[in-house]
């Protein structure tokens, strides 16, 4: 159970920087009431943010990722059940992995 002062300082820096991003964006919006154009963009942020997460992962991924993503989306469309979709997609990815 050692606690190195440099490690603690690095952890503190990481924790501070991360909390600044968590709270900072929201507080900036709340304090400076941004122009309507930026407010209108918020409606599009959730979808485009996760597209930006998923698209590069699929672009560099292999068959396992593609089959997994297709099965996840299909199960989600059919059932609207998050647990089933994650389970089904991951199982499909596992099948491809085991076969490959």
């Amino acid at each position: 159970m050692t606690l190195d002062p440099w490690v603690l300082a690095a952890i503190a820096a990481m924790a501070f920087a991360t909390f600044v991003t968590r709270a900072g964006g929201y507080l900036l919006f709340r304090t400076f009431s941004p122009p309507p154009l930026m407010r209108a963009m918020l409606g599009y942020i959730p979808g485009t943010l996760f597209v930006s997460y998923v698209a590069p992962a699929l672009a560099t991924g292999g068959l396992q990722q593609w089959v997994g993503a297709l099965v996840t989306a299909a199960v989600m469309l059919a059932t609207r059940n998050l647990a089933l979709a994650i389970l089904g997609g991951t199982a499909a990815a596992g099948v491809v992995w085991a076969a490959g």
Partner: protein, 237 residues
């Protein structure tokens, strides 16, 4: 309009925790990997647990640990965390209608436990007309517990528990976002913004690897395109 509705009810906190369970399971493999990485870089169990508890951001922790040194890289680790987590600065304002109604510790605690997964679930709740920010806190608080516990477990179990890099367990994290995208799809008007986001994020994922700039730029480009198109349509109509 929203004044009489609960802001932070126990019921919503519990519902957030309950309905985030499938997402929590997908967090575990990453917690294990992060714990293994911390152990491999010589961090003690106390240090690794402290890091997960205070930072609570998987991709930032993994990136910082992959560039660890002795003495610990204070400035580099802090900067890396900031850049990797910039997307969180875009996420907070989206939940404004919920967060604006919170004060004091409820606001700070809700912001502290806001992460990709529970934010996405909360956005879909908000879009469905729910008003109670307790959902964000409940799902996030449970995820914090799962994250800290699984990194500690990874540190203790060490390399014996490490799944190989291509293991399908890691696909579970991606599956969470694919499934949530299905819920976020609002019809044809999302098509072009999503397409632009995909193209821009793929470009910058190549140009600026190891940061989250590609996510931030993809989201801004896609959203900007959507707003620009909507304005032009209004103008022409």
């Amino acid at each position: 309009m929203s004044q009489g509705r609960p802001r932070f009810s126990r019921a919503a906190i519990l519902e957030g925790a309950r309905s985030s369970l499938p997402v929590q399971v997908a967090v575990v493999p990453f917690g294990l990997v992060c714990g293994v990485a911390a152990q491999a870089q010589g961090l003690s169990l106390a240090e690794a647990t402290l890091m997960s508890g205070l930072v609570y951001a998987g991709s930032a922790q993994l990136l910082a640990l992959s560039h660890w040194s002795s003495p610990a890289p204070v400035l580099a680790a802090g900067l890396a965390s900031f850049v990797v987590n910039l997307r969180l600065a875009l996420m907070g304002p989206v939940l404004g209608p919920w967060l604006d109604r919170l004060r004091g510790w409820r606001l700070w605690a809700s912001l502290f436990v806001m992460a990709d997964q529970n934010w996405a679930l909360s956005v879909t709740q908000m879009q469905a007309g729910r008003w109670d920010a307790g959902f964000l806190f409940g799902s996030g608080a449970l995820m914090w517990v799962v994250w800290v516990a699984s990194t500690a477990a990874g540190h203790v179990l060490g390399a014996t528990m490490r799944p190989p890099a291509g293991h399908p367990l890691f696909f579970a994290a991606l599956a969470v976002f694919v499934a949530i995208l299905v819920v976020m799809w609002r019809g044809r008007r999302d098509f072009v913004p999503w397409l632009v986001a995909a193209a821009v994020s793929m470009l910058f994922a190549r140009l600026l690897p190891g940061t989250s700039w590609y996510i931030v730029l993809g989201a801004l480009a896609g959203s900007g395109t959507g707003v620009w198109r909507d304005r032009r349509r209004e103008f022409n109509a």
